[in-house]
Symmetry: C2
Subunit: 211 residues, 2 copies
């Protein structure tokens, strides 16, 4: 499991190398067997290390999950914030946000699944921090939609609900995407950008026409 | 965990009572700890039964997961087929399909999560059968979209991709929905029906206006 993107760049910020290897081993193990069925011994073994070596970097299995979740959520949030703060009108920025957010969830679907489905295993403080990141993620999309409503480019009676639906649509790509499927991450991103522009009442877009 | 809808009606077709109690216990256990971390002993205990009593109804843990998945997928498929075959024009039927499909995924979110996230634990034959049901689910939505394109009510350049996006949007409600959230299943269903009509280029709908 795991795309090339997952095996490389994704964890570049995590150092030293041993800590990074343990995170990627954790992602694979959690994705295959679930958090509760995975032991720190399993993870250390996958990383070619001893359980004692794992404890140097992560005191508990929960801390390892938290680091995975934290890195994953921050990367996803960064994508949306860059799109929000980018150049161009609201339509262009929303399409850009969706394209990149979808591509991330397709390319990093194994990580995204762990991050999304094992939230309940986080300790209280870690959970609260991740919920905060999720609120910022929702807010970044909502900001762009509000901009578009203000400029008259979008027609959105329920900005909050529509924003949540847009984020949800993109995140669910991680559930169904497979690297051997018919569409590339870029193709899905383009299709979804068009669909989302329609959702916000930005007319004149026929999603799927411009590929 | 589990909404009232999940504790009641959902498994009515499963008899005898002991087999039904085991299924609901299985859903709760899998949702809390994941399939691989759950033993048949855990499930029997939750149902107030002995492991030996469980084996009368389900030969393996996998068979229990398969029954949960099969019942869940058939219920979800039935909802979409009824909407597809119902009265009214394509827009009405698509809105109806989305409303009911969303409501099901909100009300039965615990079951839906198990069904969606533990697919990989199914044996080969069972997996193939469930994949078949999922194809029928996608096809039911696609049929309605194709009807709408034919009548000119919808404008959809990429029918297959748009259909998959619609199904995905609705399924992901199960991931984020909580019974103590701000919106009821019906409210989410109404909002989403409006958003989906926009996705298929059915103009004149302002989602969220009609609540």
């Amino acid at each position: 499991m795991g795309t090339e993107a997952e095996r490389n760049g994704e964890w570049a910020e995590v150092t030293p190398d041993a800590a990074r290897r343990l995170l990627t081993a954790g992602v694979q193990a959690f994705a295959e067997r679930g958090y509760h069925a995975t032991t720190t011994r399993d993870i250390a073994g996958r990383a070619g290390m001893s359980p004692a070596a794992l404890y140097i970097h992560y005191k508990t299995k929960e801390e390892l999950l938290y680091r995975i979740s934290s890195v994953g959520h921050r990367l996803a949030l960064g994508i949306l914030e860059r799109a929000r703060d980018g150049a161009g009108g609201p339509a262009e920025r929303l399409a850009d946000a969706v394209r990149h957010f979808v591509r991330w969830h397709a390319e990093h679907h194994t990580t995204a699944r762990v991050v999304q489905y094992e939230l309940g295993a986080l300790g209280e403080e870690h959970y609260a921090e991740i919920v905060g990141l999720r609120r910022e993620t929702d807010a970044a999309v909502r900001d762009i939609i509000e901009d578009g409503v203000r400029t008259g480019d979008f027609d959105v009676p329920d900005v909050r609900g529509t924003g949540l639906a847009v984020v949800s649509l993109c995140i669910d790509v991680a559930r169904w995407f497979t690297s051997d499927g018919k569409r590339t991450p870029d193709e899905i991103g383009d299709l979804y950008a068009g669909l989302v522009l329609r959702m916000v009442g930005c007319t004149g877009h026929r999603p799927g026409d411009h590929r």
